[in-house]
């Protein structure tokens, strides 16, 4: 099903999304990948606040190329989400709900998604030039020293995504492949 949704991603909204849905996302999201997640989780462990309010937030796993003059941001496609599996349950435990990336997730992430009504969206890996077109604003908010891995606040319009894993734990990687193989028989 095709859906156009506006953030923030409340638990109610999250529960209306199902694996296999094509979603066009509009609103504010935050970027973070390996080094940024490590720092945020270390900050939480020390009892410190995050650089942004995680309540109902959506995090995009991306490290963009530098913006050329006149560009809002450089190419900005998703990185492999599995590297954030160690941190994702912690992020959800403080309120973050949406994750945008690509690739498989561990069972403990899926369990946390079921517990906190999380949604894992897939953006097309390797389509960084296309995805950059949906990003209308980009602002560096923390960890500038990490370069491409710094935390950014983005405003996106109609960002094309697919729900890979929904808040009930249903998984498009499993269902899509099974459906294709069943259809071939």
């Amino acid at each position: 099903m095709e859906k156009h949704i506006t953030l923030p991603l409340t638990a109610e909204l999250a529960r209306t999304l199902h694996a296999g849905d094509t979603v066009y996302l509009t609103g504010t999201i935050y970027t973070s990948r390996d080094a940024g997640h490590k720092r945020m989780c270390e900050a939480l462990a020390r009892g410190e606040e995050l650089p942004f309010d995680p309540t109902d937030a959506t995090i995009y796993y991306v490290g963009p190329t530098p913006a050329k003059p006149g560009q809002v941001i450089g190419s900005a496609g998703p990185t492999t989400s599995g590297r954030m599996d160690a941190y994702a349950p912690t992020m959800m435990s403080v309120g973050a709900r949406g994750m945008i990336g690509k690739g498989a997730r561990l069972p403990e992430v899926v369990e946390a998604m079921k517990k906190y009504s999380g949604v894992y969206f897939g953006a097309i890996g390797g389509a960084g030039a296309l995805l950059a077109k949906c990003i209308k604003k980009a602002e560096l908010i923390a960890y500038e020293d990490l370069g491409a891995e710094a935390l950014r606040k983005l405003y996106v319009e109609e960002m094309p995504l697919v729900v890979i894993i929904d808040s009930e734990g249903r998984n498009l990687y499993e269902e899509g492949r099974a459906a294709y193989l069943a259809g071939r028989k």
Partner: protein, 280 residues
């Protein structure tokens, strides 16, 4: 003896870094378009449409196809009658990478230590492979390699008794394990033979060969076709969402090996299989 200025090498490497990251090779574009025509699922078609639109934007606007502009793998075939003047070869290549990644607004994705990390800030050092060949030219190939796919690659030292079946099973095992992670549809590079290190290098070189070419040995050309078909029968599909196109190409490179061994490396690449060559 022909003299080539090191600065000439820098200038070519710089340009190749930028061009390889912005413009996908024609063979890869054709393969993606052909696969789009063969998919019948709506999600798979949609993914491939977006992938095509993406490389068209990159072509038109001279922007990176993918944000992971990779580690710069630089292959140099140096004629033995060439004398490089005015600087060291490695310095010239790294300076080209430094300039190309700065001027091309490419991402700096290299850390200075594998465990202690820390970005080098200029995407150096390049991964440099030199080969001395006949003649008085230098053939330079730059293949930026992203790590979403690099991370899903594997090598195994087989006993010779594992035979052809062992190799076939291993290729499928690597692709199956990679699943949706390396941004399928992928390109699969297979290196068989040599030593532990040479097998890996052969697999990387296999990724630099056009995917519409075939191994000159008919035995391996047939194996390439058979394994591409088997990989695509796995049903992983574009982005892993299910479908016919799991891989758009599979190249095999081989060399002699030891009586006791049969090394096999499988190097996975994404649909953004970039490489650009120039001869000076």
């Amino acid at each position: 003896m022909r003299e080539i200025e090191a600065s000439r090498i820098t200038e070519v490497v710089k340009r190749l870094c930028m061009e390889a990251n912005e413009h996908l090779p024609e063979d890869v574009k054709c393969a993606i378009r052909d696969c789009r025509a063969c998919e019948d699922g709506a999600i798979a078609q949609g993914v491939l449409d977006n992938i095509i639109e993406n490389f068209e934007i990159a072509d038109r606007e001279n922007v990176p196809i993918c944000q992971d502009t990779g580690m710069a793998c630089v292959f140099l075939e140096i004629g033995q009658d060439v004398h490089i003047t005015g600087g060291l070869l490695a310095d010239a290549v790294n300076e080209g990478v430094r300039q190309g990644y700065a001027e091309g607004y490419l991402r700096k994705s290299v850390v200075k230590d594998p465990i202690r990390r820390g970005n080098t800030g200029d995407n150096t050092p390049a991964m440099i492979y030199t080969e001395i060949v006949a003649g008085e030219e230098i053939k330079i190939t730059v293949g930026p390699k992203g790590f979403g796919s690099e991370n899903m690659s594997m090598i195994r030292m087989f006993k010779p008794s594992a035979g052809l079946q062992g190799i076939k099973d291993f290729i499928l095992e690597v692709v199956e394990t990679a699943g949706p992670n390396p941004c399928p549809p992928m390109v699969v590079g297979v290196g068989i033979g040599g030593t532990f290190d040479k097998a890996a290098l052969l697999a990387k070189k296999a990724l630099m060969r056009p995917i519409d070419s075939e191994n000159p040995d008919p035995y391996y050309a047939d194996l390439e076709k058979e394994m591409l078909q088997k990989v695509n029968a796995l049903g992983i599909g574009p982005q892993g969402f299910g479908g016919r196109t799991t891989a758009i190409g599979l190249n095999i490179e081989t060399m002699p090996t030891h009586i006791a061994g049969m090394p096999c490396a499988v190097n996975i690449n994404c649909h953004v299989t970039r490489h650009k060559t120039e001869v000076i």
